[in-house]
């Protein structure tokens, strides 16, 4: 819970009621664990996490900053360039400051870039008839590595490790492959089914050789009467690390039938 909702306006004078309203509205829209919200009228923040180039004749509408573990800067500008040229301009400028494009598919009015030190940049330009382009930028600083990977990168890495392991039937076990698969925001999963009278820890150990042959490094296994979880470490040729988990769970109302889930999460 937030006990101290610090809110500040600079660059303009607002009466107490307006301040109170804007404090509620912008805290209500803030990210969780925000520690302070600042509204800067008509100006950029002095200490943005990189140099933000501003094209000639640009009008700075202002900046909203949510300070926290991750600090979020929303920058609003009117720029006298076409909405197609603005993302291109910032993409070129920021790549000279160490940023790299995040998206495999480039949309005409939008661009997302990130930098290895935990900063990301998003620009959206929209048309206003007979006027400069209204531009919204969102800059995030303090990001962890997984937030800097694009969804495609994370899924590819997770998918790579899950697909390298085609779980097969261990000796004496009836095993159905690929009863499902999926991918979340940071990894990939494949689902299987096994028929066995063995307890889950013993069943689990029968699958170890298949994972180890594919480069998974065993870390630990824990179990209870109806489930077992083994944890693994995976690492690709670029040094990207992932946490692999093989879960074995008893299927309710089907004695001797176990659902298996193999997942890799690239959270690091």
């Amino acid at each position: 819970m937030q006990s101290d909702r610090e809110f500040e306006i600079s660059g303009s004078i607002a009466d107490e009621t307006t301040q109170r309203i804007l404090s509620h509205v912008f805290w209500g829209q803030s990210w969780s664990r925000t520690k302070k919200v600042k509204l800067i009228v008509g100006e950029l923040l002095d200490d943005l996490p990189f140099h933000l180039p501003i094209p000639t004749d640009t009008t700075i509408i202002g900046t909203l900053v949510n300070y926290g573990d991750i600090t979020v800067y929303s920058v609003l500008l009117d720029i006298y360039m076409s909405p197609q040229d603005i993302p291109e301009f910032y993409s070129n400028e920021l790549q000279t400051q160490g940023f790299a494009p995040s998206d495999a598919v480039v949309e005409p009015h939008h661009r997302h870039l990130h930098r290895a030190d935990g900063v990301s940049f998003t620009v959206n330009a929209s048309d206003i008839e007979n006027a400069p382009s209204a531009v919204r930028m969102q800059i995030l600083s303090g990001l962890k590595r997984e937030s800097l990977m694009s969804r495609d990168e994370m899924l590819t890495l997770g998918r790579y490790w899950v697909d390298r392991v085609v779980l097969a039937a261990p000796p004496g076990i009836e095993h159905r492959r690929g009863v499902g698969s999926g991918g979340g925001v940071s990894g990939a999963t494949s689902r299987h089914e096994a028929h066995s009278a063995l307890p889950p820890n013993e069943l689990m150990s029968l699958y170890y050789p298949q994972l180890q042959e594919r480069g998974w490094h065993f870390v630990d296994m824990v179990h209870i009467d109806m489930a077992a979880w083994s944890t693994w470490q995976v690492k690709d040729s670029s040094g990207n690390l992932g946490m692999g988990v093989l879960t074995i769970l008893a299927k309710p109302n089907e004695p001797g039938v176990w659902s298996l889930e193999l997942s890799v999460e690239c959270f690091y």
Binding site: M1, G28, E146, V222, Q233, N253
Partner: protein, 265 residues
């Protein structure tokens, strides 16, 4: 009705910045209103404001299909949330369930199925005062309050909503379910040790009416087993498992698994 976004007494530069920050460009009419000290006029339920409390403002978007109400309530956060849950329950609302179970801030969803969804967030200012935000969708498309509850994957499971520890960061990684079982997982970065983390979640299970049955402890993992009786008198077993990441210190994979009786051993 005073709309701050068209209030000429406000500094035009401030008004422009606030308008641009609040206007949703997906709303083709761009008609966001920020009403000073008032509730939205077409609010489809009654919202009592107790003595000592105040409506700070309301935001209305999409021609009234989306609203936010901001209140300063003269009560502690839990008490304030309970008060409005009760007020809405008396008007035909029931508690909804988003279907995800690891959250950052205390939040309650109230539904009048097929009609309206109200997300209530109670944010303590201090022990006696709360900033209360209500996010209202009319109709409740894309929420568990939709007619038929289409978004509820496992409507029968009494999955407790788990609030993250202070200062922790979550990444939910989804879950699965069916045939009387449900599981949900998330990664959690926190400076709490596993026992503190387990205690933190245990308190929430207990508050939700679950009874602790067993505890498990391994070198790199900790777990607990919980029992509860569901709304139709059916029995459920829950297993909370906290696995240490092999890659990063202070990072945990938290899994919550529920199974319905008669599977329970």
């Amino acid at each position: 009705m005073t709309n701050l976004l068209s209030d000429n007494s406000l500094d035009p530069a401030l008004r422009e910045l606030v308008s641009r920050l609040l206007v949703d460009y997906d709303d083709p009419e761009h008609n966001t209103q920020l009403l000073i000290g008032e509730l939205p006029h077409n609010l489809p339920f009654s919202l009592p404001v107790t003595e000592g409390s105040a409506v700070v403002c309301s935001m209305v978007r999409y021609v009234g299909r989306q609203m936010e109400v901001f209140l300063e309530v003269d009560m502690a956060a839990t008490e304030a949330a309970s008060y409005y849950i009760q007020a809405l329950t008396e008007q035909g609302f029931t508690k909804g369930n988003w279907g995800f179970h690891f959250i950052d801030t205390p939040q309650v969803l109230m539904c009048r199925i097929g009609e309206v969804a109200v997300d209530i967030t109670a944010d303590a200012r201090n022990s006696l005062s709360t900033a209360l935000r209500m996010f209202i969708r009319i109709p409740p498309a894309g929420t568990p309050c939709e007619a038929g509850g289409k978004r509820l994957s496992f409507p029968d499971a009494p999955m407790p909503t788990l609030l993250s520890p202070p200062g922790a960061t979550w990444r939910k990684i989804g879950g699965s379910g069916g045939q009387g079982s449900v599981d949900r997982s998330a990664y959690l970065r926190t400076t709490l040790n596993p026992n503190q983390l387990s205690d933190f979640f245990s308190a929430q299970f207990e508050t939700a009416g679950w009874l602790r049955n067993k505890d498990f402890s391994w070198t790199r993992a900790i777990g607990s087993e919980w029992l509860v009786t569901g709304s139709r008198d059916e029995k459920w077993r829950g297993v909370l498992l906290i696995l240490a990441s092999p890659i990063e210190a202070n990072c945990w994979r938290v899994t919550l698994r529920l199974d319905r009786h008669p599977y329970m051993g």
